[in-house]
Symmetry: C2
Subunit: 215 residues, 2 copies
Amino acid sequence: MTARLRVHSFSMSLDGFTAGPDQSLGDPLGVGGEQLHEWAFATRTFQGVHGDDPSGSTGIDDQMAAKGEVGIGATIMGRNMFGPVRGEWPDESWTGWWGPNPPFHHAVFVLTHHARPPVEMDGGTTFHFVPDGIESAREQAIEAAGGLDVRIGGGADTIRQYLRAGLVDVLHVAVVPVLLGSGERLFGDLPGITDAFDVRFTPGDAVLHVEMTRR
Amino acid sequence: MTARLRVHSFSMSLDGFTAGPDQSLGDPLGVGGEQLHEWAFATRTFQGVHGDDPSGSTGIDDQMAAKGEVGIGATIMGRNMFGPVRGEWPDESWTGWWGPNPPFHHAVFVLTHHARPPVEMDGGTTFHFVPDGIESAREQAIEAAGGLDVRIGGGADTIRQYLRAGLVDVLHVAVVPVLLGSGERLFGDLPGITDAFDVRFTPGDAVLHVEMTRR
C-alpha cells in the first residue's frame, strides 16, 4: 500500500479563511486568526503532544485531533510554518518554533528556496530543507516515513500546492464558527478538486469537522 | 420592533461558492451549481411552496427551510434572480421564473438599473422594480411588509451588498458537502462582518445549517 499524504486539524473560518488579514512577523496568524486554533488548544491531544501535563477535552474534537497523530512517519511543511525568517538563511540559529524537542519525533521536510544542511533535534526530529519542489519533498518524505503516511502540516499555501497537484489523499478541515472578513484562503481556484473527494461532516464540540478522502 | 432583513436557505459549497463556474443563461447556477439546491428540493417545505402535491422530507433540513416562510411580509431580490433579461427591458413580457402564481404572495422588490411599472401576478404577488438602490428597496419593502420581516431572496451579489451595508439581521446558510472548485462567492472582502454576528451550527440531514444572527 502506498503511503498517503494527509492533512489534519487544519482550521478554517466559516467565511473560508485559514489566517486573518494583515499577517506579519508579530501577528503570524493575522488579525483574529488565533480564534481558529482555540478548539485544538483545548483538546487533550494537543495538550499531550505540545505540553508536559496532559489535560484538556476528550470529546469529538479531541478524537478528531488525535487521528492526525496516528500512522504518520514524516511531515512536510512550508517555510512560513517553520519560522519567520525569509530569504537566504542568515545563519543556522533558527531551528523552528518548537524548542529543542519538537513534537514531531520524525523527519520533517521544510519547503524552501534556500538550501541548508539538516538540523537534528532532540527526540528524533530532524529538519530537512528541500529547495527542489513539492514532488521532491513528497518522495523524500515517503521514503523517510518507512511505510507510514506523510502529514502535510501547512500552511494553506503548501496544502494548496499539493491539492493542485492532486497529491492530497486525506484533508481534515475544522470549520470554526467565526467570521474573519478577509485573510488567506485554503480553497478557491482549484478546478481539479471537483469530484476528487468524498466529503463527510462530523459535528464536533466547538467546530464542524470535515473529512475529505480522495476517491 | 423594527422589521428585520432575513436571508434563509442560502446554499454554499464547502469551498465557499454559491454558484458554480461559467454561469450562463442556459446554466444560471454554473457548472455543478444544481448540487447546492438538492437538499432544499427534497424538503416538504419546498415541495409544498413550489409544487402542487406536498411531499418531501420532514427532518431538520425541512424545519430549517420552513423558518424562511414564517413572518415574512415582503421580498427583495436581485435582477438576476428575477430573470435572465439584461439591460433595458425590451418589453413587459418577462414576469419571473415562477409562472402566473408565484410562491411569494406578497410584494417583491427587484433591484434593477432599469425602471419598469409594477407587475401584479395571481395569488397576491406584485413585482416592483427599484432602480434607486438597496436602501430604497429596503425602505419600500419594510413599508410593504406591514410589521413583518423582509426576506432577501438573493443572489449572492445582492446579499453581499446588504451585508456590506450592515443591513442583514439573520443569515441562514446551508453548507453543502460538495466542492465546486471555483464560481461565485458569498463571503470575502467583508471586513465589517467580523464580530457582527452570533454564529450557530446545526447539523442537518444533507447539509450543515449555519444561522448567523446580528449581535
